[in-house]
């Protein structure tokens, strides 16, 4: 399995987790708000999508600083850098600080940014003649 294939499989795996945390919450946890993990998974899917593209461009990304360096310097990713950074900072607030997000905020502010990162990467993969790119649609899952 090539690195990009592994990363695309990981994005699909993360989508299944996103599906789980956006479903009806069992009664034992009915008062819990899992928007923090919804936002965190969104960010990680964007991150792993980028890692897939980076691996095809010969970039071995091992930490978040390196990812920021790449997206803010490489022409292929420059247009999505700000969207990615908003996802990243929101997820840091979520997982380290317990920030809670309104569903509307996620739908209006974060999902369009996730989609722009995804679409950029899918286009790049297609340019590299990669087929079998998983379809990653998060909005219908959150809107249920």
């Amino acid at each position: 399995m090539l690195p990009f294939e592994k990363y695309l499989a990981l994005v699909s795996h993360d989508l299944k987790l996103f599906d789980l945390v956006t479903r009806l919450i069992p009664s034992s946890a009915s008062k819990e708000d899992f928007s923090d993990w919804q936002v965190t998974i969104l960010f990680y899917m964007a991150c792993i999508f980028l890692k897939a593209a980076c691996s095809l461009l010969g970039e071995d990304v091992q930490d978040h600083f390196m990812m920021r360096q790449i997206i803010n310097n490489r022409q292929e990713f420059y247009s999505i850098a700000k969207a990615y950074r908003h996802l990243e900072e929101a997820s840091r607030d979520a997982r380290y600080e317990g920030r809670v997000f309104d569903k509307q905020y996620i739908l209006d502010r974060l999902i369009p940014k996730f989609n722009s990162v995804r679409d950029c990467i899918v286009d790049l993969l297609k340019q590299k003649n990669i087929s079998n790119i998983p379809s990653i649609e998060v909005e219908p899952l959150l809107k249920r």
């Binding site: 600083f65 803010n72 700000k82 900072e89 840091r92």
Partner: protein, 123 residues
């Protein structure tokens, strides 16, 4: 407007101490010996009314700038991340991290203030 003034060398953590208290009250009112990522971005955004605090510290292997916002409208985030894009060219080779935190006004931030060099403090 030129933000990296002649004579303001870019900070190198291997050879320089992080500047002590440098607060920004007016644009271009900074006379730091070394230009750091935190100072650079603080000069550009401190006048936005939603910015409560900007501080900087050296953490592990990078210069961490913490920007505390009351809320994060799209226009403000776009401005911050646009400046960050410039910074990856200006501070090429220096490890830095811009942490944008949204903290409600009801929540105190004394720990952040205590652990960083303050560049802007709205109070």
């Amino acid at each position: 407007m030129e933000y990296l003034k002649p004579g303001n060398e870019i900070y190198d953590p291997e050879f320089q101490e992080l500047p002590t208290e440098i607060e920004i009250s007016q644009p271009m009112n900074v006379s730091a010996q070394w230009q750091t990522p935190g100072l650079y971005i603080a000069q550009r955004i401190f006048q936005d009314p939603l910015i409560r605090f900007i501080g900087e510290k050296y953490e592990r292997d990078c210069l961490l700038t913490i920007i505390v916002l009351d809320s994060d409208p799209e226009q403000l985030l776009n401005k911050i991340f646009s400046i960050e894009q410039e910074m990856f060219k200006i501070f090429d080779g220096l490890r830095f991290d811009i942490r944008v935190r949204v903290i409600p006004l009801s929540e105190e931030i004394s720990l952040i203030k205590k652990s960083t060099v303050a560049h802007f403090n709205r109070n």
